[in-house]
Structure formats: structure tokens, C-alpha cells
Symmetry: C2
């Protein structure tokens, strides 16, 4: 009621100008207070803040965006259909990390799906209109043109999971190589001798790295290389099942499997069951992701956990830094950041 009565006669929302008049200062001073500039005396600041409170002033975002040429918004672009987004806990965790990192900034997060061609088209328009200050890109395939589009438009962007070792965008990733090594070394430590591997989709860089980690861990432990112990999967349950069946046929003596994802491991488990192998007595099984599947599997699955929430957090840190750096357009192109976060092996009954 008080706040209502205090409103200017115009009836609309109060403007900077009105706040300035009320506080007995100039427009520029109010702007400084609102934006937290240090070059304001304490007395003036207090007067302005009082006026802001009395009038219930809230800055007009559109005016600010127009004048300052920024939007205070960033987009989380998911180049997948909504369905995938909801199905995989990965996104939920990522979103939480991103959200918490953003919660004490004025930045706003937009969630944009670009699964269909139509949505792609819209996204391109959207980016061309520079409606966001920066972009977070998750789950990008190797041949996706999106990252290049972003570079061309000079929009700051951070990618989760680089497309290759030569990724040009700033990226955040978990240590796929190290995680795989952890898994394999764990199996070796448990006395397993014949450790097979079901890969992920090898057009995904992270999947390649997991396979590299598997190979190097075995080599460093003095195991002889055996390509017959490696079978390609595709991150799906059916793929895991098929791969496991093939491995059992080729190397019936195997006593451990490292699968490139939990879902893959679930498929492998089926195939092992069908073949009458007990887990972990006959064959130890380790997955990757530490998803809900791992916890609920029978027996519970040992798995490599990625700090997804933290990855989201770090992505925001890097993106905000990149946005801030953009102002002086010098000294770009250098200092490309490729952040890699450590993984953790969660041991359960399957190994």
C-alpha cells in the first residue's frame, strides 16, 4: 500500500530518472549505485537506495540491454530432442551445477533444445540476433557445425566434452582417460587377468579416451595387448549385449569387463547372465557414469563417477570469464582453456 501510494502519478513502473529526482541526485549517480560502482559516497548511496526501496524501482532490462549492448543472459544449448534430455540424468545434474553457479549473478539461463532441423533453424536466428551473451554447449557430436557458427558470430562459448584433442572452443571435461585407467587398475588390483572392454561410440572423443585409458592401463601393468578383448559398443543397452556376446564367443576365458557406460554394462550383464556367468564370481563388471542404473543393478555396479554438477559450475565460471574478457578485444585467441576434472571410482559388488 505504501509502495503503491509512493508510485509516480504515471502509474507505470518507476524509472531511473524518477529515482534520481526522489533522491535529489542525477541520473548517472543512480545508475552507478544500481550497478555497484565504488565511485559513490556512502551518504549518496544510502539516499539512492532509500529512494529505490520507496519507489520499488526495478531496472528495465530491455533499456539496459539496448544501451549497454549486452543481454545478461546465457543459453544452455542442447542439440538433442527433449526426450533425451529428460531421459538422461546427466543433463539434470549439469543443470543443477549451472543453476547454482549462476544464482548469485544477474545472468539468466535459457534452455534451448535444438534436436530437429526446425529447431536448429530457430537457434541460428536466435544466435544471429545476439540474444545471449554466451553459450553453453553440451553433448555435441564431432561433425556438428554449431561450434563453428558460434566462433564466426564471435559469441563466447564453452563446450562440455571437446570434439577432439584440437578443440578450438574453451572446454570442460572429465578425465575420461584417467577414469578408464582407474577402472582397469581396480580390476587388475582385484586379481583379474583377462580384462575385456566394450567401447562407446568412437565418434565421441570422450569414448576414444576411455579406450585409450583401458589400453594404457593394461600395457603399464605388463599385460599383453589383445585386440580380441575389445569390442565396439554404442552407449546403448542393446549394443552392450551384442558386444558382450561377441566377446564371450571370442574369449570365453575373460574374467572382467570394463564397459564404457552404465547402460552398456547393463546390456553386458544380460549377456553374461544368459551365458551363465556369475557377477562378480566369474566375471567382474565395471561401468562408467555412476548413474542410477549402477546403484539399482543386481548386483550393484562398480562405476566411474564424473563430477557432472561441478562441470556445470566450471563451465559457467569459464564462460563468464570469457564474456568479461571480451570487452577489450585484444589478447583473445590465446589462453584457450581446456579444463579437465578428476573422476572417482565408486566400488560396488559387481567387481
Amino acid at each position: 500500500m505504501a509502495s503503491h501510494g509512493a508510485r509516480s502519478r504515471s502509474g507505470g513502473r518507476p524509472t531511473l530518472e524518477e529515482v534520481a529526482a526522489r533522491a535529489g541526485v542525477g541520473r548517472g549517480t543512480v545508475s552507478r549505485v544500481i550497478n555497484g560502482s565504488p565511485r559513490v559516497s556512502d551518504a549518496t548511496r544510502a539516499a539512492v537506495e532509500a529512494a529505490v526501496a520507496e519507489l520499488g524501482y526495478v531496472p528495465n532490462t530491455a533499456a539496459r540491454a539496448l544501451a549497454a549492448n549486452r543481454t545478461d543472459a546465457i543459453a544452455l544449448v542442447v542439440p538433442e530432442p527433449e526426450t533425451r534430455f529428460f531421459a538422461e540424468p546427466y543433463f539434470s545434474d549439469m543443470l543443477r551445477g549451472v543453476g547454482s553457479a549462476l544464482s548469485d549473478t544477474r545472468m539468466q539461463l535459457l534452455l534451448i533444445f535444438a534436436g530437429s532441423d526446425r529447431e536448429r533453424q530457430r537457434l541460428a536466428q536466435y544466435l544471429a540476433a545476439h540474444r545471449v551473451d554466451g553459450v553453453l554447449l553440451v553433448s555435441v557430436h564431432a561433425d556438428d557445425p554449431l561450434p563453428d557458427m558460434l566462433s564466426q558470430l564471435e559469441i563466447p562459448a564453452v563446450i562440455s566434452g571437446p570434439r577432439s584433442a584440437a578443440e578450438t572452443l574453451t572446454s570442460v571435461d572429465s578425465d575420461n582417460y584417467g577414469g578408464a585407467r582407474q577402472a582397469v587398475e581396480h580390476l587388475i588390483g582385484r586379481g583379474r587377468r583377462t580384462i575385456a572392454h566394450i567401447t562407446g561410440r568412437l565418434d565421441v572423443y570422450g569414448a576414444q579416451r576411455r579406450t585409450d585409458g583401458y589400453r594404457d592401463a593394461l600395457r603399464d601393468a605388463g599385460h599383453e595387448a589383445d585386440e580380441l578383448l575389445i569390442e565396439a559398443g554404442d552407449f546403448t543397452e542393446e549394443g552392450g549385449r551384442r558386444a558382450m556376446a561377441a566377446l564371450l564367443e571370442r574369449r570365453p576365458d575373460l574374467d572382467a569387463v570394463f564397459a564404457a557406460s552404465d547402460v552398456t554394462a547393463a546390456g553386458a550383464r544380460h549377456a553374461l547372465r544368459e551365458a551363465g556367468r556369475r557377477i562378480p564370481d566369474d566375471v567382474a563388471l565395471v561401468g562408467y557414469d555412476d548413474s542410477a542404473i549402477a546403484r539399482h543393478m543386481d548386483p550393484p555396479l562398480t562405476s566411474v563417477r564424473q563430477p557432472i554438477e561441478e562441470m556445470g559450475h566450471r563451465m559457467i565460471d569459464l564462460l563468464l570469464a570469457e564474456i568479461a574478457d571480451r570487452r577489450p578485444p585484444a589478447s583473445r585467441e590465446l589462453d584457450r582453456r581446456q579444463m579437465v576434472l578428476a573422476t572417482e571410482l565408486v566400488e560396488r559388488a559387481s567387481s
Copy 2:
């Protein structure tokens, strides 16, 4: 390359003014073309469109928002933590409906979670800043202050699932009453005589309506009312289990159960199994929502399907209408719309 060379020397994005100069027309005319006004001659329109294409002109959203006092954005507000949002397929379906309804407008959708107090606070600021033209509210509890806040700020809003029969906001809902009747009539039609009901959370209006539908269907079929056949649930699996156990104790002769949600039915199924009752031979079971759970249950669960995707679609229709109507500020307050969509019974093996 052509488009790059065609850019104005300023290097930045082309403006309306530059397009106007290039097309040899005035600023206003370009604006008319961009906004699809009919009061432009075909020749002029073509010239402007050519200039737009050559320069790669994209309107500046901030400038438009400032001048026109609208944002071309609407928010889908979810007063729940992210976790719930991802866990329930309801939201995913809703989002798809909303997205498709929006895809041929210039409106952009923002997804806002307001589960914690902190997020609530942010949301209030956000709405006060009028950063969206309208709001879609899903999953609102009876005592939530959010709807009133929206009314006070005079922000157009549509709610899914009215809070009561006296809902003041425009709302879209599925026919909970009718859906429950369908379920119960189906059971009666199958010759069941003693039909129990596990309710949802009764502080949710839709849950009340389902219970009303159950009661009325029985009454209209000439069954005598028996409150011992009704037990309160809370939409959770554990609640369903507990309620079912209680019902079995009170009325061991029951031969059918209508549960207020699929999850509740899943709980009931456990309790029935433990009690040695076979489904559907001894007890028929019907759920509500037709979620993935229903399809994957053993046996597959008969369930009432709500057209959630269509609800999302209709919500957008109503919201856009309300936003458009707002311009002439007369004739508001009347014509409150409460849209109710029909449900459909999906019969499976459990009944």
C-alpha cells in the same frame, strides 16, 4: 562471403536505418515490412526484403522490447525443485506441447524453477521487472501465493490444474472427474462389485475431483456408498502400498482398486502381491496418468490418460490470447476461461 562484404562499414550488425537506406525507403516502412503490416505495397515490400536478405539484417530484440514495451518471451514456471521436474514425465510432455505451440510464433520460452525460497525470491524480482509477457504455471499447490502475485502485477498467466473450483486465473485442466468415472465404470462393466479407491493428495484439487468421480460413478451404478473402501494416498508408491494394505485389512472381499495415480497403483500392486492376490484374477487394478510405469508394469496397467501435450498447447493458445487482449485494457476481468480436456481410458491386462 557475399553477405560479409555487404555489411556496412561499421562492422557491427546492420540496423533498420541501414536497411531503409539500402532499399531506398524510410525507416517506418522497413519496420512495417518486418512486422508484417499489410499497409505496404508489394513492390516496396519486395525491395525491403531484398535489402534485408543482402545485409543479413536481424532485428535487435532489446530495442524492440524497449520501444514496444513487450518482451516476446513467456515463462514456464515450475514451483518444484529440478529433481521433480526431471523425474516426472508430466513435465516433459507438457514442455513438448508448449514448445510446438510456440514454434511458429516469435515468442520465446523460458524455463524457470522456483523450488527453493531463494529461487522464489529471484522469481519475484524477475516478474517485478516484467521480463516476460506472460506466465505458464504448472503444478501449483493450493496455498501458493504465486498466482496472486501475478494478478497483482497484472501479468497474463495460465495455470494448469486450477487450485479450486473458484480459480481466478485462466486455467487448463484435464477432466479428472470424468476420467475417474471412466475408470470406475470400466471396472463395473467388467463385473467388479467391490471397488476400492486410493486417493491422491487431497490438497490437490484434481485429486479431489478424481475421488468425486469415483463416488458418483458408484452411486449412479446403484452401489451403496462405503467409506471403508476409500483410503487416502499421497501420489507416492509407498503411500499406495500402505493404503492398499489398510484396505485389504478392512475389506478383504474387495475385487477392484482404482488408484489416483500410476505410481500409487505400483505401490498397491506390491501390497496385493504380498497378500497373495493375483492381478487381475482376484483384484482388478486401474491407475491414472498412463505413464511409462503403466506400460512396464507386470501385468501392464489399465490407466487413464490425460492429454498433457495438448494441455500445454492449449495453455499457450489461451496465454497468447490473453496477452493480445491486454492492449485495450477495457473488458478484462470477464470471460475467465477454464478449459477442460477429455481423458481416455487405456485398457491393459490389469483389469
